[in-house]
Symmetry: C2
Subunit: 238 residues, 2 copies
Amino acid sequence: MSYFDAILSPPEIDLLPQRDLRGAIAVVFDVLRATSSIVTALSNGASGIRPVNTIEEARDLKTLNPNLLLGGERNGERIEGFDLGNSPLEYNESVRGREIVTTTTNGTVALRAVAHAETILAASLLNATATAEFLSKHPANPVILVCAGTFRDPALEDIYAAGLIAWILQAREMRDPALVAKSVYAANHEDSLALLRSAENGRALIRKGRIREVEWCAQVDTINIVAELKPDGFIRSI
Amino acid sequence: MSYFDAILSPPEIDLLPQRDLRGAIAVVFDVLRATSSIVTALSNGASGIRPVNTIEEARDLKTLNPNLLLGGERNGERIEGFDLGNSPLEYNESVRGREIVTTTTNGTVALRAVAHAETILAASLLNATATAEFLSKHPANPVILVCAGTFRDPALEDIYAAGLIAWILQAREMRDPALVAKSVYAANHEDSLALLRSAENGRALIRKGRIREVEWCAQVDTINIVAELKPDGFIRSI
């Protein structure tokens, strides 16, 4: 049976490996900043981004293939010895043609938790409509919008971005968590930057002087790319 | 440090017993229908409602005290041999002066999960402003709004009711889940009945011909009672 659902918090993500996701399209949101950086990298010509769980795994892959770029964060900061942090502004022209291995706190965990879905997408405000259009072309597939959150808590901006997808596709009957996300978008749809600034992650980035990253991630539909996690472990533009 | 937080889903509720809730006021919402029935019972003169986990516990208490009324549900239906189900319409004049033992699926679990909070309230749309006013009189206490949900999933109507409290108290700085709830209220504040009808629990009750119960629970601020879980295990009007 088809459903249109959402996962609002990390403790619910922990339960996803046990959930039947046959035929489902899982869409993962980690708006500040992992999936925004992934989508930005693809728009700047990166050939693929591979999310991994650990710093060691990333370093091992680079040992095997020195052409890889390493990116990611721990507690919001760049990892020692890595080429890139988690700011989408770093994923600029310099990534053109490159493959990137990335490890972030919540985004990677969420992507792994839905590994058994039929299709896995990484989405952000930047490519919301492109992602929604992909879903609208597959109306028979169940949809699960996965809000990656921060550590063990829900993140407002992830639920807001999921809500934008639900808003665009609102003709479909939705489960309660998708309706929650849709309402979060509806209540704040006129000003995505204000929403991101009010979120805990946005406030923390602004305190660190990273308002430009928040502004970047708050842009809606500036990138017309669908980002899919492929069987080889790399997220690529469809 | 004071915080204003919310818990959106049952898997997050499972983690509450490990969370530091010193000084906190925990407010539990199970709008369709446990906390709405509790608040209705108190407004009709019930002297107290004791939530327990199991049917056996409820029956044992009645054996000790035959004057108790037994109420509650399993899978939304009245329990065999119980005096009352979980419809707020049953908690009418007949409960005046009586003590009630109740066992419901999610509401009871949520109340138990916050047993270590300083103050525990049961809230619904019916007594939202009364509850908010209690919180506003205790500005130094951390607040955690606990949305009981349904089985393992978030319930839209619980998040909406929590959001009404957040909306009333919106001068306070809030954590992301409270902002999520506030947005859910803000996006739907003009029509609580439409919101409850669109929620999964509302749809299920309507399919069973129980629209009047949904209508009852959708009433906002018709009851001026604050319902507190006391150390003796009974919820009473403050």
